[in-house]
Subunit: 626 residues, 2 copies
């Protein structure tokens, strides 16, 4: 029996509608391929990814398979999403092809330069694998055990074995004549067995560097032998639904113990989704991940460990603990090798966390002969100033605006985000992946405001110049509008750069950016003030952060995000917190260094300083044209 | 509105039926109390115990409350059991009062002599508590953390703190002006923080000794400062539904990985029930239990740790591991203090486990100048023979008969069990608690068979002498019957000693006892044989085991459970495996000694020995009258 199948490739394009017929009992994926409609099926139609998803527009969606539920989640299944590889045709249906998953989806970045960009890293992750043949006695009078025979073969003692290793031992030792592969982790002069796998798996040795930010979470998979970055996943921190900034999230945790648990399980759940996704895309098995290094601010760090962050939000803002921690992955319920070592870098103070330590490591500011400044821009950014002689740090709570959040049409730096803007007699945009524009990410917002300042669409106080728009070139003028009480700049009209809807910058968006850049600029100014370092003594300013894409330093200077240093003295260093985690992942020497660096950083509390308020107010304005 | 409530106190007694009326919306418990029916409510009607349970005979049982589910479990809830304190009356119902929970229930024994009976124990559990006041800085410029301030106060380092301790730290440090109580555990020269509690709880320091047997599990609560035994709970090992003896349980585990998980979760679940029960009865909070010592045979030990015991059941019967293990309670999901140390004693071989090490410790056989024998009778018993010069051990797989299992009217040594029997011209019984007889436990079975042998009701081959009964005294003769193909001795007729039903000893029961005592006696004989120790060189035989009640040595000699030594050279030492665990609980020196003792014991494999079969067959018979 033949069944009608209609596939809508692009709901905005009537011409993209394809009508097919297929034998009842065929999957939608097979029917589509047979009919010449190219549905992507990354996993080969095995229900292991979401690429072949369709949404039922007519016809009752079939009951979800277990793969539907696992891959798409309950919400999407309820909305009629299914995996076309799992869906068998029985009656005529109309489906939409691969509707976007938006913020629910992950962005997988390709392999980046990783730690090799930092040069001079001796690869020594502490994780080692060796293949051994273990002699099991065949006669009963030997008083021994599987574990003792294994330990004799590798020269270790029973203290150095985790319980999960012992559980799988009898099978591993008996299943493969090639022997077993023993994975160990060496730290602080001790070796510990992390895994015993049957056969020779010595080539499989991976680790994860994870940056848990207030707004974004970035997980990077690294091959430990080469230090090569294999893949990177980023997504929104799902805790954000309980409060966009740290203080509101702390208030939520304070409300009752169940809330802390909610925040904790959300982040653990997300990390496990990242692990699943990154393993699927890279073909690396999760059980081959033996080391994980995590950085994050103090609040994220505490929540990850299930520690109540309430008192981090109350004067004197003391953390509950600061030392570097090593846990077994099973203790955090992370779905990598159960005995994998999860290393959390140490903290400096309540608002200067392990992420700042990561930035210090990645920028090597701790060994600089001259005074340098590292600025990590994030919802809870930090500024570090100093040299090998002394390091100062303060928090710079910029809020999420520069990560594209709490901006009318803001978004993370994912496919379709406007990441570059040029303003001349009109507004010109570039999108990530050069695809249809969906919104604007941090680097795009900074470019946009810089361009609008130069074009005098925005004045130095941040006001959108609706009243003076007639002085602008006509195309630009037409973008400056007053809608009700709201001043707006129309960045894209529907159809421009493939935008499906209007994308605007509102007066309030500009104010959010002013608050953000004010926090950062005043942090830099205050550290210079406290340390007694005038601008001319700053040898270099290193700008770090996860803007989604590379930031234009010219634009950052133009909006006053950073102090007016010579362009040559400013460098963009990428997501330095994550790079610091990657360094500690591939090098135990760097991880040991994290302790000494954390102890050397002196925390400067801005709010307590009498001069702070005036400096902050000054930094909120944009620099006046020279 | 009034509702009719009928309560049946004793289903065998029509006069016990009570008809009441009560206002709709009242709980059954309140209605019963108002109507003069005395339902026990140990917890005060708060749903925290099972004492007020009723069973619905007519009327639909109301949906179970969470308390019903927690206290009674799914099976009983399905059978119509409810807690009367939770059950609101809406329609006429007939309920039976407190139907017995039988083997599902726990037996709580009163305080016993515990380790003090062993003399010469230096109390040093390793667990210490100290009250400290921790100085929290009030000013922001101090770079410190809660944990660092605490560690400074007690002089420890961050390596020695478990994650669960850190989680509760901020509250504990701020809630009580009296300070906090820090619990530490010292072992092997290192101290570790187990808990930080607000206020002064220095007097609260408890531990558990747990003996996980194939058939029975015994948990003992001990006050660590005094070594005093506060309470003891015993119950059947719930794994028994998956196989009564070790080999069938190993076969079950081999069948698929889910089965191992089932066995594992059953025993962990039971231990948590024990903990809940023992804490409720003693008033000790579970969070005050900081140390747990567990003994068990190799198979029980492996299953408890989630280790596949398959290969313990296959030649050469090697364990997966043998060393002493210390885990955090949270790792085993035991509901005591999360960081409590759970110590498993070391193993000797596949069938000589940590329980044998416990017996060796409790009997102090390792320091004896003369040769002694320790016999631990259990489903998987062990025999240890030797002195301070050399120790041999073998397994003696008696099966569960001597623990009252797999016997027609057998039961554990709980209230109502026949524990003593005297046979003259009739059969006379004593029951535990001197209450109505419900069945017969191990010590009663041994007494009974010994008496029947002396009275010539049973001959030396074990046959019940139905054909020769006319030669017996008339009352005794009337108890010896043939029913169908089955020979039986009627121990009690309904009404005798309060028995509600007939209690008999069957021919098959006698055979089970013969197999059991044959296994043990041949174990002793074989060790003597291998070690070259004739009976006259055995200075003492120490008989251990959980028979439910104290065993009569005369009866044990009469049935040939133990070799025919002079009565003065035989001593009953109680549940020595559990006592060994208690020793290690109250003394770290004893726990350290367990390692050296385990290493010194030489395992003798009986089945491999050419002389074993003949010895075993000989030992199956009862000793002939002199």
């Amino acid at each position: 029996m033949a069944v009608a199948l209609t596939i809508i490739v692009d709901p905005n394009d009537p011409a993209s509608r394809r009508s097919l017929t297929a034998a009842a009992g065929t999957t939608i994926l097979k029917a589509a391929h047979a009919g010449g409609v190219d549905i992507t099926a990354t996993c080969g139609g095995r229900g292991r990814c979401t690429s072949c998803r369709v949404k039922f527009l007519t016809g009752a969606p079939p009951p979800p398979t277990i793969m539907d539920a696992l891959q798409l989640g309950d919400d999407l299944v309820r909305e009629g999403y299914r995996l076309s590889c799992q869906c068998v045709l029985h009656e005529p249906v109309i489906v939409q092809l691969a509707p976007p998953l938006e913020e629910r989806a992950f962005q997988i970045l390709g392999a980046g330069p990783g730690v090799h960009a930092l040069g001079r890293v001796t690869l020594d992750s502490g994780v080692a694998k060796q293949v051994v043949k273990v002699n099991l006695p065949r006669e009963e009078h030997h008083q021994t055990s599987d574990l003792e025979q294994l330990l004799a073969a590798v020269g270790l003692t029973a203290d150095d074995v985790g319980p999960a290793v012992v559980q799988g031992l009898p099978q591993a030792l008996r299943d493969d004549p090639a022997g077993v592969t023993v994975t160990t982790f060496a730290a602080g002069g001790r070796q510990r067995i992390l895994a015993v796998e049957r056969g020779d798996t010595a080539g499989m040795k991976f680790g994860l560097a994870i940056d848990v930010g207030t707004t974004s979470v970035v997980t990077t998979l690294i091959e430990l032998e080469s230090g090569e970055q294999l893949a990177s996943v980023s997504s929104l921190n799902p805790q954000a639904v309980f409060g966009g900034d740290l203080m509101s999230r702390i208030a939520f945790a304070q409300f009752n113990p169940g809330n802390l648990r909610k925040l904790h399980t959300r982040i653990i759940g997300l990390l496990n989704q990242h692990i699943e996704q990154i393993c699927r895309e890279s073909g690396v098995l999760a059980k081959w991940i033996y080391k994980v290094v995590i950085v994050g601010n103090t609040c994220m760090h505490h929540i990850l460990l299930g520690i109540d962050p309430s008192h981090v939000g109350l004067a004197p803002y003391a953390p509950v603990m600061r030392h570097a921690v090593i846990l077994a992955a099973r203790d955090l319920f992370l779905k990598v090798a159960p005995e994998a070592r999860v290393c959390l870098l140490p903290l400096v103070a309540g608002f200067v966390g392990a992420d700042a330590v990561g930035v210090a490591l990645a920028t090597r500011i701790y060994e600089s002969a001259e005074i340098r400044v590292a600025v990590d821009i994030g919802t809870n950014g930090e500024v570090i100033l100093g040299s090998r002689d002394h390091l100062w740090a303060c928090s710079a709570p910029a809020g999420p605006a520069l990560e594209g959040a709490q901006i009318r049409h803001g978004m993370r730096g994912a496919l379709g985000a406007i990441d570059r803007v040029r303003v001349d007699d009109d507004v010109h945009v570039h999108t990530i992946g050069e695809t249809d524009a969906l919104g604007i990410c941090g680097s795009g917002i900074i470019d946009l405001i810089a361009g609008l300042l130069d074009a005098r669409v925005i004045d130095w106080t941040g006001l959108i110049q609706v009243e003076a728009r007639d002085a602008l070139p006509p195309k630009l003028a037409a973008r400056v509008v007053m809608r009700g009480e709201e001043r707006q700049v129309i960045v894209l009209r529907p159809g421009e750069a493939g935008a499906r809807q209007e994308i605007v910058l509102t007066q309030d968006d500009v104010r959010q950016v002013q608050l953000a850049k004010g926090a950062i600029a005043s942090g830099v100014a205050m550290l210079q003030h406290v340390a007694g370092v005038p601008a001319e003594r700053v040898a270099e300013l290193m700008l770090a952060g996860g803007f989604g894409n590379y930031l234009s330093i010219e634009s950052a200077l133009r909006i006053g995000l950073i102090p007016p240093l010579a362009r040559a003295r400013i460098r963009y260093v990428g997501n330095a917190a994550s790079l610091g985690a990657q360094l500690c992942l591939v090098s135990e020497a760097e991880r040991a260094r994290a302790d000494s660096v954390a102890r050397r950083i002196e925390h400067v509390s801005l709010a307590a300083h009498p001069d702070f308020e005036q400096i902050f107010v000054d930094c909120m304005n944009f620099p006046r044209p020279a």
